[in-house]
Amino acid sequence: MKPNTLSVSGTFWLFVALLFLTSNVNAAEPDTRTIIANSLQAFYYTGDDMHARVLMRLINAQGRERNRELTMLRKNIGAEGEQRYYIYFHTPSDVKGTTFMVWKHPQQEDDRWIFIPAIKLVQRIAADDKRSSFVGSDFTYEDVSGRTVDDETHTLLSTEEFDGRPVYVVESKPKGKTDYERRVSWIDRERWLPLKEEYFDSRGEIIRIFTADRVEQVEGHWTTMARTMKNLQTGHRTETRFDQVDYGIGLQENLFSERYLRNPPQQWIR
């Protein structure tokens, strides 16, 4: 039967081509997309759920400092990358009690809400501002809750040592128009966490640098406990420290709802 023969030979040649391609790079190495996918998984999806107390220090070029102290709760929903985030602000006193919720959908725009305690208002907010600053810091919303692997195209530049760790160096170029032209990441080959990222503008100048300042194992999961994002154009930087990190604590999905935006879940907020 003619069609069948054709498809068998098609599969055969595809197989040969794949063999040739993979052996040409290194049979043991994952492809670049997988490296990034693993890195996003390690950085944003570790554990089924997570609790962390986060201190953000926003420091301007003159050294003047503002602080944001918050509790972050996160839960993974299913295996398709769906997530829920809940953030409660402890300080500064003017925003204390403000809560923020994201329903992250990998295949469509996220849903986001904010609760403003002074007027007891829950407001849905537009989710098109992934690259906008998160509460005035150098981290964007996307830096906090993650991006999608196929938002960018990825190229492996090299494998090397960085700060005593074996890393992949990967260049990523966003497919859509955004505030950076390309991004270079140093990704730990064993732990998959990004140790450094440089963001370049269209003139090839570095605009932002991310560094993982302290990486520790928490309950078996490698976790970036301290990180910095520095804006090289303004000299402003944000240093973030994670404390009280816990994984697999059994957060219920219904915690990520308007009810708890208005009435923060006390057992997790303390």
Partner: protein, 413 residues
């Protein structure tokens, strides 16, 4: 004392004492607050009537103390916010309980008793199903937004049924605060020399909200049985009498993502029960209200929001026929558009905001530009203006002699 009038207050007192007995030692108590100065300069050159502060109608210094806490398990929580106000313009010292409530939480419900702010609906500074008291004097003088909302003395029960929530509110009546003629120039058809006799309803108000998610949309249905929060005025030869006629409302709202932005829809029916056929010119006729709004990001740190709003007067013929001569006749359909533009600079320490109400049918406008700068986490300053223009018979134009510029400075601790 009327046994019904005290429902909300007495239940709250009972709740607080029950909790005090139960939870003799409170586990947490946090104190915070702020001091704030707010001054307003009239920017139109007008002759003010006697008794109206003309050049500097507002000059307030305010301290707010906030106390909040709860028990170890989180089942009981409380919050109190008390303002001490030095009103320099009117040479007055006052205190005000902004909020004072106790919460009792279980897995299935929450009860909140006491003075509490409740905000419902999907509009941005346009209210349909938010039937709770407001302070319009604070709003037109550029006070921070939280002062637009007045607390309700209420018991509120939230029942959680899966992803659906039913909220039930019983509250004592609290009238809106309208612009005060000691600080605003208000055109009134009634002689200023006639004494005012204002009556407030004794019976409580009831409000219901059923809300949940429909896929990615927030949906809610509302109903209320209460009173108009602005008075209906009627003059006799010797007195101007103000009453608050009965009002029932029914409405829905929807809010969800459309084309990278947020679309808000809200509608409601205002049933003016005491004026069933619309023939009483002192009372509001029944109305249907509709609002459509859309907000989205138009650049980094830049947001724009637009809204279209309509109030459709029912029984318009009856209104026309009974309106006394000499009164400006309102339109059958009042339409308003709003625009909001917000831009952040300098790591969100500098906020430039513009909000404009455009009275389409009444040919008037109200524009509120403002700039806020946060010097630190504790200290911010805002400069802004309230600019009212257009037809003097319009809702905004009627306040046209009150254009002002304001400055607010707040130190939070």
């Amino acid at each position: 004392m009327d046994p019904i009038k005290i429902t909300a207050t007495s239940i709250t007192v009972a709740l607080i004492s029950a909790i005090q007995i139960n939870e003799a030692a409170s586990e947490t108590l946090e104190l915070s607050g702020f001091v704030q100065a707010h001054a307003v300069v009239r920017t139109v050159d007008v002759d003010c009537p006697a008794g109206t502060e003309c050049d500097v109608p507002f000059n307030d210094q305010r301290a707010q103390i906030k106390a909040e806490g709860g028990n170890e398990s989180g089942s009981v929580a409380y919050l109190g916010k008390i303002d001490l106000i030095h009103n320099w313009a009117l040479n007055d010292i006052d205190s005000e309980v902004r909020e004072l409530y106790v919460d009792y939480h279980t897995d299935d419900f929450t009860v909140r008793g006491g003075r509490q702010v409740i905000t419902w609906g999907a509009g941005d500074l346009l209210f349909i199903n938010d039937v709770f008291p407001k302070d319009w004097g604070a709003f037109y003088s550029g006070q921070p937004l939280e002062y637009l909302k007045l607390g309700s003395d209420a018991v509120k029960l939230d029942l959680f049924m899966g992803s659906t929530t039913l909220e039930m509110v019983i509250s004592d009546f609290r009238a809106d605060r309208l612009p005060d003629d000691r600080q605003f120039i208000i055109s009134s058809p009634f002689s200023a020399s006639l004494p005012r006799d204002m009556e407030e309803p004794e019976a409580p108000e009831y409000a219901l909200k059923l809300s949940g998610y429909l896929r990615s949309w927030d949906a809610a249905v509302y109903a209320s049985r209460g009173y108009y929060h602005a008075p209906a005025l009627m003059a006799t030869a010797t007195v101007v009498r103000g009453t608050h006629p009965r009002l029932n409302t029914l409405g829905i709202s929807l809010s969800g993502p459309v084309a990278s932005g947020v679309l808000n829809l809200e509608t409601g029916y205002y049933d003016s029960e005491d004026d069933g056929n619309g023939a009483d010119p002192t009372m509001e006729n029944s109305q249907a209200r509709l609002l459509i709004g859309y907000t989205r990001q138009i650049g980094q740190e830049t947001q724009i929001g637009i809204q279209a709003y309509a109030e459709w007067m029912q029984d318009y013929d009856a209104y026309k026929h009974t309106l006394p001569s000499g009164y400006a006749r309102r339109d059958e359909v009042r339409t308003v558009a709003t625009v909001r533009f917000t831009q952040y600079y300098l790591h969100q320490t500098l906020t430039v905001n513009l909000f404009a109400f455009l009275g389409i049918s009444e040919n008037d406008s109200y524009v509120i530009p403002s700039v806020r700068y946060a010097f630190s986490d504790n200290l911010w300053m805002e400069l802004g203006a309230n600019i009212l223009n257009g037809s003097r018979s319009g809702m905004f134009g009627t306040l046209g002699d009150n254009d002002n510029a304001y400055v607010t400075m707040r130190y939070a601790f």
